[in-house]
Symmetry: C2
Subunit: 315 residues, 2 copies
């Protein structure tokens, strides 16, 4: 049996036909155009599903289910999306709507949860029973896998690990609270601190790399300069890693997964990030003599959304 995985994003929709082992047989994409009524977006998802099935040389009879990763809150039990800020959706009866086009079981879950699930089946955390996927992008997202299954909490509002408060009364967050984890561990945090740092240290390599315009600093600029030994960039990077380390310590102290998987743009820093993070975490570990979660980089990249969504359907 094959499964369709759909990765619904604010800009584009991707879909693919996936085997039980997590191998992609065909894939395609279409723009989301999220300003439209949700019925039109979902009609396009249905068309894309039909199209990737055809591309794989299959028919709908070969497909067991459709899984969908959504950038918002999902209630996997009712199939309703109570809130998806990214798409401007509130109370969308997603599963019923998609099933009005294609008569197959439809399963929805949060996109970071879905990507974490993909890694736990076909990626770096394959074979583990529990993991937390941490996406380091514009914000910080999370996907929790417990007992080998995506864990979305009792009300579908769990895994919002980016909004764990890490520094009471700290930096103001877009959510209205202060000191959220993502204020310290997102790409946005690196950019913010990079800009502050060049204001104080205009001699920094960062300033050259951004052509003298701090508005052009991105996370990669800072990390590249840190790799090359620029002291200003290194200080920003080290403080970033400390914030990331403390948030991960919180995940370990609460959830104690087998693996913490790092994804998202910042994770492209690779071993430079991983080595620094593992070293920085050590003094903060609560039980210093006992084993704790491995820290790894995600492996599936941009396909994780399709693969994980499809494997949701397999369940």
């Amino acid at each position: 049996m094959m499964y369709i995985g759909v990765d619904l994003g604010g800009t584009g929709i991707k879909a693919g036909v996936v085997t039980e082992q997590g191998e992609i047989l065909s894939k395609g994409s279409t723009p989301t155009m999220k300003e439209r009524p949700y019925q039109e977006v979902i009609a396009d998802i249905a068309s894309l599903c039909r199209s990737v099935v055809k591309d794989a040389g299959l028919t709908m009879e070969d497909i067991g289910a459709i899984g969908v990763g959504v950038p918002g809150v999902c209630d996997p039990r009712t199939g309703v999306i109570p809130m998806c800020t990214n798409l401007g959706w509130h109370g969308v009866p997603f599963v019923a709507e998609l099933r009005s086009h294609i008569d197959l079981p439809v399963i929805v879950d949060n996109d970071a949860t879905v990507a974490g699930f993909a890694e736990s089946i076909a990626g770096v955390s394959a074979g583990t029973h529990s993991s937390v996927f941490v996406t380091l992008g514009t914000g910080v997202g999370g996907g929790i896998i417990i007992n080998g299954r995506p864990y979305s909490g009792a009300h579908g509002v769990g895994s919002e690990i980016g909004h764990m408060i890490l520094k009471m009364d700290g930096e103001l967050c877009s959510c209205g609270n202060r000191g959220c984890f993502e204020r310290y561990a997102s790409a946005t945090a690196i950019i913010r601190e990079g800009r502050k740092a060049v204001a104080e240290h205009p001699e920094s390599m960062i300033m050259k790399r951004c052509g003298g315009n701090p508005e052009r600093i991105n996370a990669k600029t800072v990390i590249d300069c840190a790799k090359e030994g620029d002291p200003t960039a290194k200080a920003v990077f080290d403080e970033y890693v400390r914030g990331l380390a403390l948030g991960i310590i919180n995940l370990i102290n609460a959830i104690d997964p087998e693996v913490i998987v790092l994804g998202g743009g910042v994770s492209n820093a690779g071993d430079f990030l991983l080595d620094a993070l593992r070293e920085t975490m050590k003094p903060y570990i609560f039980f210093k003599t006992l084993p704790y979660a491995r820290i790894e980089l995600a492996r599936l990249g941009a396909d994780a959304g399709i693969i994980g969504a499809a494997l949701l359907g397999k369940q």
Copy 2:
């Protein structure tokens, strides 16, 4: 079938025979005398088990298993207690040792986890699938129940929610880190802040209640004065509740349980605490229009340890 529940503490050992529904048929206790070799402590546990079975008018044939709550890290799979600071135990083969006295299945888990499990079966969170039990005592402990079962993490080091970092670079904690949740949400935090407050406000009612000796301030002193409207005590209490609220927000944002159950000494403040906490949490909730965990007070009191341990055995 009946089950024996053992609540192993640093000072005393309690045990009881418990029905499948969580009703205690008989109970007893004996001092721990933790300075002794662990073999002697475990031999006393075995004697206490035999004694409570006799008191219930039963024989060992009526007993399905023995469950034990331990104030430390447990590996429920191996039956070894890798670390129990409270008893000074390291790598104690608890299950094998107890089974050398009584040939019954033996299951061990962390004491806060066990108490949370008891509440989820026979207490305030009965009937729920997921809950987090938060003990507000000298420190802050936690017990996580997921899918109706105690969740101890992949390495048995989870549920250490008292050591989630809530304020990066905040108050120094006994664990060596700074800003741990329990620095703000334990009875110890109320006492610390109460003492600071009377130094600045010697006119506070707290000062009268402690006979002019700040060393005699305890959490109840401060909470009682806050209830009676003393402004200094109220300020300490409000700030305490804010710390507790933010830590609970973190649990909701990560784990999203059905219920958060408050236990431990500070929870004796009852509705005064509960009402303040529920109100304080509201502005910090991430998804303000969606349902989230109920906050409740534990119901089983001091018997939760025996009941939860026994019900572990039932599994």
